[in-house]
């Protein structure tokens, strides 16, 4: 009976459950069942995608918060006398609004030299020299990118979500017109998603197709470090059995470095299929 069973609908639990199933299937009588393992790998892939998106969203929220605070502090430090409170507020709002609008509309650069310690997050088509070692990505066509900007836009062909890699941080651009501008042809209307990020509260409702993730995102609206890491030790044990490939799920730091790479994403997908290959 299932009546009192607690349903672990969040992606991380599903990942660990799926890995456990794959692990157990190796010792099952009759040999590995190809069909069942293939289906489990699909769940694994779906859960992985949702999990990564949730991490992106969280990281983006964190980064936005930090940037706003940084800029505010810098404004106060730089021009404590020139600006009165009202102007500071206006500029702050303008800056926030500019960031919002640029995030929403993507490739419109903001010429604002005065507060530009880091111009790159205004543009979706350029990237700072990033700590990320290498990324196998599609570069944007309309990169009116100046030489110092090397932000790159990535389209995940599985999910048709456009992500921007910058400074090791990730944004999710919303409009799929971005994707079109960036020359990505693959498009499935049924699976298109729009992501809109407002300034303070990320409305991640439209991030994912999955209702479970949606519900989770709503709960995590204003909390930044809500991720439950109690299961990571389980995951890490199982992962060590299977070898490399999933280390990106273990820690946020690894996330930032590895997950941005489409190559890693692709290899994760291929790797999960490799589980069932024999």
């Amino acid at each position: 009976m299932i009546s009192t069973m607690e349903c672990a609908a969040d992606a991380q639990s599903l990942i660990s459950i799926s890995l456990m199933k794959i692990h157990n299937s190796r010792t099952q009588r009759g040999g590995i069942k190809l069909h069942k393992n293939l289906l489990v790998s699909y769940v694994l892939r779906n859960a992985r995608q949702v999990y990564i998106k949730e991490k992106y969203a969280e990281i983006y929220r964190m980064q936005q918060y930090e940037e706003v605070m940084t800029v505010c502090n810098e404004i106060q430090e730089l021009n404590p006398l020139d600006l009165d409170a009202e102007d500071a507020e206006d500029e702050e709002q303008a800056a926030a609004h500019a960031r919002t609008s640029s995030a929403i509309f993507g490739c419109s650069p903001l010429d604002d030299g005065s507060k530009e310690p880091d111009p790159c997050y205004y543009r979706s088509c350029c990237m700072e020299p990033s700590p990320v070692p290498h990324c196998d990505q599609f570069t944007a066509n309309n990169s009116s990118s100046s030489s110092h900007c090397n932000k790159t836009t990535v389209l995940d062909l599985d999910t048709h979500v456009v992500t921007t890699v910058e400074n090791g941080y990730l944004h999710q651009d919303c409009c799929c017109c971005d994707a079109l501008q960036c020359g990505q042809g693959a498009r499935s209307p049924a699976r298109k998603r729009k992501v809109e990020f407002s300034c303070c509260v990320s409305d991640v409702e439209d991030v994912s197709d999955f209702t479970a993730a949606r519900k989770r995102a709503k709960r995590e609206d204003c909390c930044y470090s809500n991720i439950d890491y109690t299961d990571t030790s389980n995951i890490s044990n199982l992962i060590s059995i299977f070898g490399s490939g999933f280390s990106g799920l273990l820690s946020r730091q690894s996330d930032l470095e590895q997950i941005c790479s489409k190559q890693v994403l692709a290899s994760l997908g291929a790797w999960t299929r490799a589980i069932v290959a024999f």
């Binding site: 992606a11 009759g30 290959a277």
Partner: protein, 453 residues
């Protein structure tokens, strides 16, 4: 413990506290006349039931058919034994995955039974005479002392107790690398197909050392694997057509006349996915677990986790009818994934006139859908609530709305009691339902003969 599968007429007093894994029935199949019913179990045994024909005139009443309709055990034999693949260090289960009867051509009956790797052809024959009067042997078979023989006699055949002999006639081995999920006898009476996860082979019933591979969906790189074959069946009348279903919910109709290797389908039956209902488990619940041609050959019946669908062979854009078997489970998919129930493979069957379809569910429930009215009914195969000759009452699963007395709540369903395997008599309204280790046979006394359209 549990040597023979239970006949529903016996063993009501023999209650078991537990179910031996080996006794779980894994396949049920009527032969072409419906007189014989074969079941296979996880222990590799096959039990054949025969329908009793009543003595002429004794208990016939007005309106009652000549057959009493009761099925009794006819024969039991061990079809497959546990095996071991030394090269891969893999154990091969003895569980009987499928049984298919051959059309009867003489007094003997033939059936094919398969486990994960090996298909066997069995001959079931009766012997009711035995030779008596040997010269060199006595009645027990011991050699006689030659000095005692004074005259010669000709042995004669005398009536004896009926004995059913089952002998293996062919063993079709080493044809499959992956697990065999289906076998299907061709209408030509000479060939049959066997399907595993990635390949379908065609065999001649008389040749065991060779088979033709007719479908191969194994990708060059196993990392690119996206779907597997889940079931396959020959067309009931056209010996060149067969269909196979995939884990992605597609059906492929193949014509063997077009090419030797039927990797390219003649027709692809696929229903576009509803993007609004996408979830973590979309791929799992869309996987087709069983496919059956209608008796007419015009329609296909498929079963996926939550629905049963009827497809018209002439229309590949989508099913013509969709029946919700247990839609109330859609919100429970996560729990069902955790306890592995989401991987259960339900079978589906047609009635003889293709007007009713039937499939199994949980809590010992099974469902019948009348295609003409579109209405479905839930019935229960459970010992406590069905005595012999009792009328089956309909059940209902309560999932919102007005609750009636006798309704079962979704959270009260017993997911260990699943009806996966079933069969429908080829011409009468008699159904055989396998519920774990029990076999239930139900008959429609009101309308025993199906009205032919």
């Amino acid at each position: 413990m549990g040597e023979d599968a239970e006949s529903p007429k016996i063993n009501h007093t023999f209650l078991r506290d537990y179910v031996t894994e080996a006794d779980v029935i894994s396949t049920v199949e009527f032969n072409q006349t419906g007189d014989l019913l074969a079941t296979g179990d996880k222990g590799g045994r096959v039990v054949i039931f025969q329908r009793e024909t009543d003595s002429k005139g004794e208990s016939e009443e007005v309106g009652e058919t000549g057959d009493s309709g009761e099925y009794n055990v006819y024969s039991t034999f061990q079809s497959h034994e546990p095996d071991f693949d030394y090269l891969k260090s893999l154990e091969i289960e003895e569980k009987i995955n499928k049984i298919r009867w051959l059309p009867q051509q003489n007094a003997a009956h033939f059936l094919l039974s398969t486990n994960d790797k090996t298909i066997k052809l069995w001959k079931v024959s009766e012997r009711d005479k035995r030779p008596e009067g040997y010269n060199l042997k006595d009645e027990e078979g011991r050699l006689k002392d030659i000095s005692t023989i004074t005259s010669l006699q000709v042995p004669v055949l005398r009536p004896a107790d009926l004995m059913v002999e089952v002998r293996p006639r062919r063993v079709f081995s080493n044809g499959h690398t992956y697990h065999v999920n289906s076998i299907s006898v061709n209408s030509d009476g000479e060939t049959y197909l066997s399907a595993d996860d990635l390949r379908i082979n065609m065999w001649n019933l008389g040749i065991t050392d060779r088979s033709f591979n007719i479908v191969d969906i194994k990708p060059a790189n196993m990392e690119d694997l996206t779907e597997v074959i889940t079931a396959a069946e020959f067309h009931p009348h056209h010996c060149h057509l067969f269909v196979y279903s995939s884990s992605k919910g597609t059906l492929r109709l193949c014509d063997m006349r077009s090419s030797a290797l039927c990797d390219r389908h003649t027709k692809l039956f696929e229903e576009p996915e509803d993007p609004g209902s996408r979830s973590f488990f979309s791929e799992i619940i869309s996987s087709v677990s069983d496919v059956k041609f209608s008796h007419s050959g015009r329609y296909l019946l498929t079963r996926d986790y939550l629905t049963a669908k009827v497809w018209d062979l002439n229309m590949d854009k989508g099913p013509v009818e969709t029946y919700q078997v247990h839609e109330y489970l859609r919100s429970k998919l996560c729990s069902l994934y955790e306890n592995d129930c989401i991987f259960d493979k339900f079978e589906c069957v047609w009635n003889s006139s293709d007007t009713v379809i039937m499939t199994g569910a949980y809590n010992s429930f099974f469902r019948m859908f009348d295609r003409e009215t579109g209405r479905g009914v839930t019935l229960e195969a459970w010992r406590e609530s069905s005595k012999p000759r009792a009328v089956l009452r309909t059940r209902r699963v309560y999932s919102g709305g007005k609750r009636r007395r006798g309704d079962v709540g979704v959270d009260s369903l017993d997911f260990t009691k699943k009806i996966l395997h079933m069969a429908w008599h080829p011409s009468e309204n008699i159904i055989a339902i396998a519920a774990t280790n029990n076999l239930y046979i139900f008959q429609d006394r009101v309308n025993p003969e199906t009205q032919l359209q």
